[in-house]
Amino acid sequence: MANINETLMTPDKLKSNMMDGAFGKAPHKFYAVYDDLMDEFIFKLTQPDTLVAEFPISDSFALLVEPTTFEVVGFQLGDFTKEYLPKMEHLNKIWDKHNLPEVFSTYKEVKYNPKDMPTPPKQESFFFFRTEKIDRVLATA
């Protein structure tokens, strides 16, 4: 019988193989949805119905983790329109104009191709580096 400590999801056991490759040089798809009730934007590299568990990192940021492999396959941004959107200039401009809350009210498949992306500004933060890119992908969705 497995030791309970071996099966519990803890930060040291999380793997980021998929996220490390995400938004890099290879074109790929990802899936996104906006939860207007919770004001959360959710990004997944796996199919939307793939089982993932929320792993909170801060009060407004959580990783989405595949519970058997502990692989991080996405993330969830809370207080999206209050906290994150004002920081993402491109997305902020088109958010209401293109009615994105309605467009993303159910999961949408988004194609990411780095060739279509302008060079992102250098960001020290892992997280903001990625959201800057996501912002551009969504702007072209």
Partner: protein, 118 residues
């Protein structure tokens, strides 16, 4: 037949607070978290997470939001359910998703069970 947007009694939590839900609201919950299906989390499971919650927390989103947690046997995940209450302690099902066991958002505080200091 219940109208899709009619809120009906859904569950009563361990404190006696009533939670309402409508068909449309439930559809939204599953649309935002379709992984619930692969978590085998049916409406009945969501109901159980409220009525037989192991923990109820005050959400960081504000006093109106309560967070219910109920673990699943044999899985390292638990079902997390968020309910928004009014001042009359009547709530509406707001969200549900699988969550890593024991992992809480910083700032969430336990509302139930009330723990006594020895």
């Amino acid at each position: 037949m219940m109208r899709a947007d009619t809120f009906m009694p859904f569950a009563t939590d361990p404190r006696g607070y009533t939670v309402l839900c409508s068909e449309r609201q439930m559809e939204k919950v599953y649309a935002h978290h379709p992984e619930l299906v692969n978590f085998w989390a049916t409406e009945h499971d969501i109901k159980l997470a409220i009525s037989q919650a192991q923990f109820i927390y005050q959400s960081i989103k504000g006093k109106a939001f309560n967070v219910y947690y109920r673990s699943r046997v044999g899985k390292n995940t638990e079902l997390k359910v968020i309910v928004k209450f009014n001042e009359d302690k009547v709530g509406i099902l707001w969200a549900a998703q699988p969550s890593a066991v024991g992992q809480r958002k910083p700032g969430e505080t336990v509302l139930w069970p009330i723990l006594m200091k020895p």
